[in-house]
């Protein structure tokens, strides 16, 4: 994906995220999030520090653009950026990683991509829910919220990658 195409993709993702946050409220426990997608699709060989700064900016823009606690999405996305490399090292083989321009089901394989998505969604919601629930911790409620959000959002990322964004990403 070229730089310009990636910027357009990031802006579209942010706009869709704002729309989802403003108009799609499935349940109080559920938070649909697609902002990890630009962080996930950043090329594997891209500077890890810049990836974190990029994630921080995307997170802050998300927090600013709709109504949430300032810093909540930013903290969770920075964590996704930080753990992206260790997760990829665990799931994707070294030979495949070395040839990765960007992470997708086409380059890493559907199974590996699903696992990466699941792991990064887990990281996102581990930070997001821990910080959001800090004032009224309830183990059962927090665990249920975590599991529901991780599974739902992994499904959404997979769906988005396979359908909506696949054509966009593959065009060069």
């Amino acid at each position: 994906m070229t730089g310009a195409r990636f910027i357009i993709f990031t802006i579209i993702t942010l706009l869709v995220q704002i729309f989802i946050a403003e108009f799609i409220n499935l349940h109080q426990m559920v938070y649909i999030v697609i902002t990890p997608l630009p962080v996930l699709f950043l090329p594997y060989n891209y500077s890890k520090s810049l990836t974190m700064v990029f994630a921080f900016i995307i997170g802050l823009l998300t927090d600013l653009s709709y109504d949430g606690v300032m810093g909540l999405n930013a903290a969770a996305l920075v964590a996704v950026a930080f753990f992206k490399e260790p997760v990829l090292k665990l799931i994707v083989s070294k030979a495949t990683r070395e040839n990765l321009s960007e992470i997708s089901s086409a380059t890493a394989g559907k199974g590996a991509f699903a696992l990466v998505s699941l792991a990064l969604c887990s990281v996102f919601f581990l930070f997001y829910i821990a910080l959001d629930n800090v004032l009224y911790f309830s183990f059962a409620y927090t665990l249920a919220r975590f599991i529901i959000n991780v599974l739902l959002n992994t499904f959404i990322i997979m769906l988005a990658e396979f359908t909506l964004f696949r054509g966009f990403l593959e065009k060069r």
Binding site: Q28, Y31, S49, V53, M70, G71, L72, A79, N133, L135
Partner: protein, 281 residues
């Protein structure tokens, strides 16, 4: 021993990660919701304008007008009810006043009501709020209570010219002074943080008997909310820490259906605030 450059790279990344997370925590700790309300008041006023237009477009015009009329009449009735309650309390306290006081004196009630329409109702996070279509030009000020006939909605935290933002009761920082049934057993009611209709009544003295089905009301020990607004019913109670009792409360108010609300103005708020200030000194 020579330290490989990759070690410094990894250490740098970890330090950057910690620094960015610390910055996020700082932002969160500042309670970003309120801070941002104050900073983005102008932006939200514009947003509210469009939300209201959108809402109006979806409703049949005459029906909307009728609802506003009913809400206005309800506000008048609530003010009248509050005034009459105050008269009864005073007459019970000193029967001599019966002959001395003009019972139509509108100044007897310290609370008066104005109606407002909810133009945005944020419900899907741990930090919820509502935006009302009335602001400073309608006499709305910060720290006014927002109620309905079915309970407490929240407290006004930020006021623009034509719109205001109320921090919803569905917030971990919101606590209401409440009482249990007619027993005058006082406690603190706060959101349970889980469901939109769940709350916890805490700090009830352990000798007080709590029964499932008991109604919880506002206590009146607050300059923001009048007494005796029904809030919910007790579903379950237990002894906590061996000192006090607490109860799970099912709220009457369905926060997903908020439409018209009443903003409560305490006429004596300035005097109460000045006395509180005097006490602190």
């Amino acid at each position: 021993m020579r330290i490989p450059p990759s070690f410094f790279n990894a250490a740098g990344r970890i330090l950057l990660f910690i620094a960015l997370e610390a910055l996020c925590l700082f932002l969160i700790a500042r309670d970003g919701v309120i801070e941002r309300f104050l900073l983005n008041r102008k932006i939200e006023a514009v947003q509210s304008f469009f939300w209201e237009k959108n809402d109006r477009a979806r409703k049949y015009f005459k029906l909307n007008r009728l609802q506003e009329d009913i809400a206005g009449q309800n506000a008048v009735l609530l003010s009248e009810n509050s005034r009459l309650k105050a008269i009864i309390e005073r007459l019970e306290g000193d029967s001599l006043l019966l002959h001395c006081r003009n019972i139509n004196d509108d100044t007897l009630s310290i609370f008066e009501y104005d109606w407002a329409k909810v133009v945005k109702n944020k419900l899907n996070s741990g930090h919820n709020y509502v935006i009302l279509n009335k602001g400073a030009s309608d006499g709305i000020t910060e720290d006014m209570g927002v109620v309905t006939a079915e309970g407490v909605v929240g407290i006004i935290r930020s006021v623009g010219e034509n719109y205001s933002v109320a921090l919803s009761f569905l917030n971990p920082t919101q606590q209401i002074s409440a009482k249990l049934g007619r027993k005058n057993a006082f406690g603190i009611l706060s959101w349970d943080g889980k469901s939109a209709n769940g709350a916890l009544l805490t700090d009830i003295q352990q000798h007080i008997e709590i029964n499932n089905g008991d109604t919880v009301y506002t206590s009146g020990h607050s300059a923001i909310f009048p007494a005796d607004i029904p809030l919910g019913v007790v579903k379950e109670s237990k002894l906590t820490s061996g000192m006090h009792k607490s109860a799970k409360v099912e709220l009457f108010q369905d926060y997903t259906l908020l439409d018209y609300v009443f903003v409560v103005r305490n006429r004596d708020m300035v005097e109460i605030d000045s006395l509180s200030g005097l006490n602190k000194r």
